[in-house]
């Protein structure tokens, strides 16, 4: 039957499938490559020198969600209003896939111009060229930017002496205490030494019949647990050998800190972690045993009192106080980390991106930033923001915040040096802290473990 088909008709029957096959292939490829191609063309039209209208369009990508997005929108609106030559478009991506998405965008040649990132990972990014140095832009108006920042804010964005990131919101850590639990335990004032803290918190544990009902204090559990977070209180943050390797094993301050952590190994870590996880599983993770009124002492940041407590348990609003965390360095201190803005490799408009990142840090924008930081519960990047009337009003209304702010300029405060294996170090110190608490490693073994893991980052 088919043999009777005329040859022209047969030829046509071949042409149609071939054309359809080619069309479907082209459509599929176009669907995959479409956005990148269009972005590339729009980027080239903006081209760092501006579009036809003279406005440079830049994109800002963040991993924030919830209430913070309202703040980000306000910031973008304000920037666009005050900078008619630059237009910012903000987008959000889930934090769980944020880093992977950024890398994909860079690999595809279509990264955002500005990306907000938790700074410990920046050492890796700077080491392999994922992000651009900002040092070339520190001229003219921006010549004084580095000195304008708090020293720990500046350190958090530097890799091998070059500036790679500008802070948007900084952290500061202090000791929260539950007033009514303190009174119930017969303690008249919060502790000012490590020995007092241990003795006071010991009076607050409640474990009737082996069931954990109330925690005194446990430095080994919770989101802020870990050797690293307590490092500044002991002067044990940047322990490196002369060869630039992690060397906590040979660092006396690190040994002191590890021994202090081991002091708490008689408390039921599993139960404490279970309680932390249970409270963390509600209210979008903003709750914890301290917020719930189940923990006597907590080492935490300003957002605990400024956001978590008012939002999830307002009854605690007048039932907490804050003091500098006692340590061995002789003065209040904090461990400097925060959310920083970076310019990814291949960003279309790095100059405009830098202008926006500096503005977000509050440089030449202190008045507006002083209004935004309190809403986010954020520590500022510079003392000049603190001096603004809006920030002072926030401090006056919440005097406990002064502890956090004053620590930012303490000479004992320190930011962890950005390294290419910071992520491995963070995981190792968290595991080591847990090992100490579970007595599966001695403090010295835990320090050896941290050095080994951080220095021998596996594979490539």
């Amino acid at each position: 039957m088919t043999d009777n088909i005329p040859s022209r008709r047969r030829a046509r029957s071949w042409t149609a499938p071939a054309a359809l096959l080619a069309t479907s292939a082209v459509l599929t490829l176009a669907a995959c490559g479409g956005p990148a191609a269009s972005s590339a063309s729009s980027a080239s039209s903006a081209g760092g020198t501006g579009s036809a209208s003279g406005v440079v369009n830049i994109t800002w990508q963040t991993m924030w969600s919830g209430e913070t997005l309202t703040l980000l929108n306000q910031m973008v609106t304000q920037f666009n209003k005050t900078h008619p030559d630059i237009h910012v478009t903000e987008s959000n991506i889930p934090s769980a896939t944020g880093d992977a998405k950024l890398l994909s965008e860079i690999a595809a040649g279509d990264p955002p111009d500005v990306f907000t990132e938790w700074n410990p990972v920046l050492g890796e990014y700077a080491a392999d060229g994922t992000i651009q140095s900002m040092s070339p832009y520190l001229t003219g108006t921006y010549a004084g930017l580095e000195k304008w920042e708090y020293p720990i804010a500046l350190q958090g964005g530097e890799y091998k002496g070059a500036l790679y990131a500008l802070p948007m919101s900084m952290n500061s850590w202090a000791l929260y205490y539950n007033k009514s639990m303190l009174t119930a335990a017969g303690i008249s004032s919060p502790p000012t030494t490590l020995a007092q803290l241990y003795a006071d918190q010991a009076k607050e544990w409640k474990t009737p019949g082996g069931k954990l009902e109330q925690i005194g204090f446990d430095p080994d559990a919770g989101d802020n647990a870990g050797f690293e977070y307590y490092g500044s209180f002991f002067g044990a943050v940047n322990c490196f050998s002369s060869a630039g390797k992690y060397s906590f094993e040979t660092c006396p301050a690190a040994t002191t800190e590890a021994n202090w952590l081991a002091q708490y190994d008689n408390y039921p870590l599993s139960d404490v972690e279970a309680m932390q996880a249970a409270y963390g599983a509600v209210a979008g993770g903003q709750d914890d045993p301290f917020v719930a009124g189940k923990e006597g002492f907590d080492m935490d940041g300003p957002w605990e009192g400024a956001q978590n407590i008012p939002v999830t348990n307002p009854s605690m609003n007048s039932n907490f106080g804050v003091e500098a965390f006692p340590g061995t360095v002789g003065q209040p201190s904090t461990f400097g980390q925060g959310n920083y803005n970076i310019i990814p490799k291949g960003a279309a408009n790095p100059q405009a991106a830098f202008t926006f990142a500096a503005w977000l840090a509050g440089y030449d924008n202190a008045t507006f930033t002083a209004q935004m930081d309190p809403k986010g519960g954020w520590m500022p990047a510079s003392p000049s923001i603190v001096q603004q009337p809006a920030y002072q009003a926030w401090l006056k209304a919440n005097p406990w915040l002064n502890v956090f702010v004053s620590q930012m300029s303490s000479s004992a405060s320190v930011a962890p040096a950005l390294t290419a294996s910071e992520s491995e170090f963070e995981t190792a110190e968290a595991t080591a802290t847990e090992d100490i608490a579970e007595r599966s490693k001695t403090p010295q073994q835990a320090l050896v473990y941290i050095d080994q893991q951080a220095n021998s980052a596996a594979g490539g």
């Binding site: 392999d128 870590l269 599993s270 249970a278 594979g459």
Partner: protein
């Protein structure tokens, strides 16, 4: 040369070839999708497994260095053991539980539809949501499980947060999602001819013998299907462990599963070459397990229309 061309063209225009090309045309969306989203990523992963690569710039060829590092990586060995433990215990456990439940729901009782719906509903709850709920259910101090145990004077453990109990707790959590295989078993049970049970009963077979010699052989292809599916999912266990444990793998790396470690290497440390080597080994592992299971299945799987 001319001879060859002349010889080829008529061959292409033959009816058989045309049918082949038309067939290829109709499956071309699948072929393109397969090549773009499966074959290329697979080959790329294989290539990257021999390189040092962070996702940016050019990968550096390192030969077998990643595989050598894996052999000496103690966390990798722990992750492999944890995954093996979970798979070996969870697969039989969930298979028996799902099959048993399907048999119960296959009985003619009042409210049968209600019970079927009730037992299926958990499997449509998002995994992240159910994981967070189970954090509360297994909370050692005020969770419902330990409260019930306390009523019978048993001191419940710390479940997810105990080195000893963390993996068994994840296995228990796995039962929450057994509605899916249960429904498949239920459909298979309803396909077993009633006459076979009647004949077996006439021959004097009791309930156990009917199960052993009628039910199980008749649904054995479905059991094989569910076991393979369950094995592959167990080897790739990830979401629940990632959501519940912080830091990932705690306590004491007792919940560091293969894929959670892979995820950590790939997306936390950006060791994409190392992670690619892990992904390739995972593929080999799943392939071996599946092939072994399929090869041995001829001994215990009964196909009704099969000639033996």
């Amino acid at each position: 040369m001319q001879m060859t061309t002349r010889a080829v063209i008529p061959a292409l225009r033959s009816p058989g070839s045309r049918r082949l090309w038309l067939g290829l045309l109709f499956v071309s969306p699948w072929i393109i999708g397969f090549c773009g989203f499966y074959l290329y990523p697979f080959l790329a992963t294989l290539y990257y497994s021999f390189t040092s690569f962070t996702g940016i710039g050019n990968p550096t060829f390192t030969g077998l260095a990643n595989f050598d590092s894996l052999i000496h990586d103690t966390t990798f060995r722990t992750a492999l053991f944890n995954t093996f433990y979970y798979t070996v215990v969870e697969v039989p456990f969930s298979t028996v539980a799902a099959l048993g439940l399907a048999m119960l729901l296959n009985m003619n009782v009042r409210g049968q539809a209600f019970y079927r719906t009730l037992f299926y509903i958990p499997s449509i709850v998002p995994v992240v949501a159910s994981s967070l709920i189970f954090v509360w259910i297994f909370q050692p101090s005020f969770g419902i499980v330990n409260a019930l145990l306390a009523d019978v004077h048993v001191n419940g453990p710390a479940w997810f947060f105990s080195i000893t109990w963390s993996k068994p707790t994840f296995i228990l959590l796995g039962l929450w999602g057994m509605g899916q295989p249960m429904v498949i078993y239920l459909a298979a049970l309803q396909g077993v001819p009633k006459e076979m049970y009647e004949v077996a009963a006439l021959e004097g077979a009791g309930p156990w013998q009917r199960l052993r010699y009628v039910t199980i052989p008749m649904i054995s292809p479905i059991i094989l299907f569910n076991v393979i599916l369950s094995l592959v999912l167990s080897i790739q266990y990830f979401t629940q462990a990632q959501v519940i444990e912080s830091p990932v793998g705690s306590p004491g790396n007792s919940t560091m599963f293969y894929v959670t470690y892979y995820y950590q290497q790939a997306f936390q440390y950006l060791h994409l070459g190392y992670a690619s080597a892990m992904a390739f080994l995972l593929f080999i592992l799943v392939l071996i397990v599946t092939v072994v299971l399929l090869k041995t299945s001829s001994r215990w799987v009964y196909y009704e229309n099969e000639e033996r």
